[in-house]
């Protein structure tokens, strides 16, 4: 019986390790390629560890295009949109979770239903709308909508608020606090875990966004990093080590953020996902 369970355990470990290698190999391949010299780049069988680490690949690729400008644009969009997302989504979530008003449940169903709408359907009118406002080729289309709340984030925060005992705000109300003070002074501090989650996911979706910048931006000076990288790849005479170096740099902030916020992502989001 004991040997049987040991065989079973070994089998599971073997599978886990195999899958880990499969999932990590492309990332490793990216890192190692970014450090290779031209002589080792196109070799078969491939060399896993370059004999010399060519760190200058990063600098060369970075300065070959206005990547510093792209970085500034990406940072602007990501920071401002995420800030807007956190502020607006938490306000709206509180409104849905803590008040009863006519049409509330209907509106909430509508909010959930909007998550089903494919972006292709609204893409053209949005383009026309932003064009009418003179926002095309500016970063506004990527920032402003975030200030009006995201359905998924609102849902996430609402679920969390519903789990907070209501007695808390009754006590505060007796003390004379108004709705906004209660939200700001009592709820916001309690909402730290889901707010971190919203921050992380909003950051990831803005930083990683490609289609938004692709549709709404024209001039290279307005490009975000993802758009810059896509353009960089299509250029003549660009080598793989440069592309992988930039790719690696673009992946770095999400990866770092993920490791910092890992605890929240792994535990909280999965729970709320099931409830949905």
């Amino acid at each position: 019986m004991k040997t049987k369970s040991r065989v079973h355990k070994t089998f599971i470990y073997a599978l886990l390790i195999l899958f880990s290698l499969l999932f990590l190999a492309p990332l490793f391949w990216m890192v190692t390629t970014s450090l290779k010299g031209p002589d080792e780049l196109y070799q078969f069988p491939p060399k896993w560890i370059p004999s010399v680490f060519h760190f200058e690949n990063f600098k060369n690729a970075w300065i070959s295009q206005p990547f510093t400008q792209f970085l500034m644009n990406s940072v602007t969009v990501t920071v401002l949109a995420t800030l807007g997302q956190v502020v607006s989504s938490s306000l709206v979530a509180y409104g849905f979770a803590r008040f009863t008003f006519k049409g509330r449940d209907f509106l909430f169903v509508v909010l959930l239903a909007t998550m089903m709408i494919p972006w292709e359907v609204t893409m053209i009118p949005l383009y026309m709308e932003f064009n009418f406002l003179g926002w095309i080729n500016t970063l506004k289309p990527l920032i402003v909508p975030a200030w009006f709340g995201g359905p998924f984030f609102i849902f996430l925060l609402r679920q969390f608020i519903m789990g907070i005992p209501k007695e808390l705000d009754e006590a505060a109300r007796i003390d004379g606090a108004n709705a906004f003070q209660i939200f700001y002074k009592i709820y916001l501090p309690l909402m730290k875990p889901p707010l971190i989650l919203v921050t992380v996911f909003s950051f990831l979706s803005c930083w990683n966004d490609y289609l938004g910048p692709l549709v709404f931006l024209n001039d290279q000076s307005k490009y975000t990093l993802t758009l810059g990288l896509a353009q960089f790849k299509g250029m003549f005479g660009v080598d793989m080590e440069g592309i992988m170096a930039i790719t690696f740099l673009i992946c770095l902030p999400p990866l770092v953020l993920f490791f910092v916020a890992q605890r929240y992502i792994m535990e909280d989001v999965s729970k709320s996902g099931v409830k949905g």
Partner: protein, 314 residues
Amino acid sequence: MKAIHASSKPYMEFNQKKKIKWDKLVPFLFISPWVFGFLAFTLGPLLFSLVISFFDWPVVGEAKFVGIANYKTMFTDDPLFWKSLWVTVKFAAFFVPLNIITALVLALLLNQNVKGHSFFRTFFYLPSVISGVALAMIWAWVFNGEYGILNYFLSLAGIQGPDWLNDMSWALVAMVIASLWGQGQMMLIFLAGLKGISKEMYEAASIDGANKVTQFFKITMPLLTPTILFNLITTIISAFQQLTLALLLTGGGPLNSTYFYAMYVYENAFKYFKMGYSSANAWFMFLIVLGLSLLVFKSSSAWVYYEGEVKKKK
């Protein structure tokens, strides 16, 4: 004293009235950002998109009402429409089940109480935090026919790998593989679903003499069906919106073998500037996705098991 009291009473009443009105307004103030955003960035565009789908709407020049002509052209006079629809259906037919199976298998493995399972969990989730552009860049290099690592691994097994992205019969398979790499979110949701199954259930089953395999099919799977339903619908929706990978890995080629429906919609709008036609395309896709989701949802009463219902029967 009396005078003050008399004068303050109407004031109080006024204040009370104002307060009640204010109280009614407060919830709307809280949700107003979303309401405004919904009207301006979702409902408005949605309706407008429906309207222009009945127009010939070029970027420059007059828009002309054409009735259902756009929809008619799409079905009867546009081979690319059928081609892209077929490519997307093929992609979904492979991707949807494979994505769910991969995520489920990984979640089951992680749920086996192994040491270091948080490390493995991190490894499997890691690719999902990466941008679609970065993902495409990495996989373009992995799939490289001459120098890529995928063909290197295949060569170790004595298999001569194809030139994935330039081979008509393999490019779509390559897309499926690259997309599977980002299954992390789904795995986490399955993992949470598995954690939600109470241990007592398994204990009771093993006292009754059920072995692991029976337990899996009689306990784990049925109790996981609501999670599978959720994941199924999300994957179907995402399969029909796949665009980034197609744009960056193959550009729809070779010979349109990876020309996804989303790419068809996108190019009609922003490459050929047929805004009305593209809107008609988009609405048709919306209806397909809605229909499929509804179908899956309707079918769920036959295969999704809800604990609450059984309790009622008892």
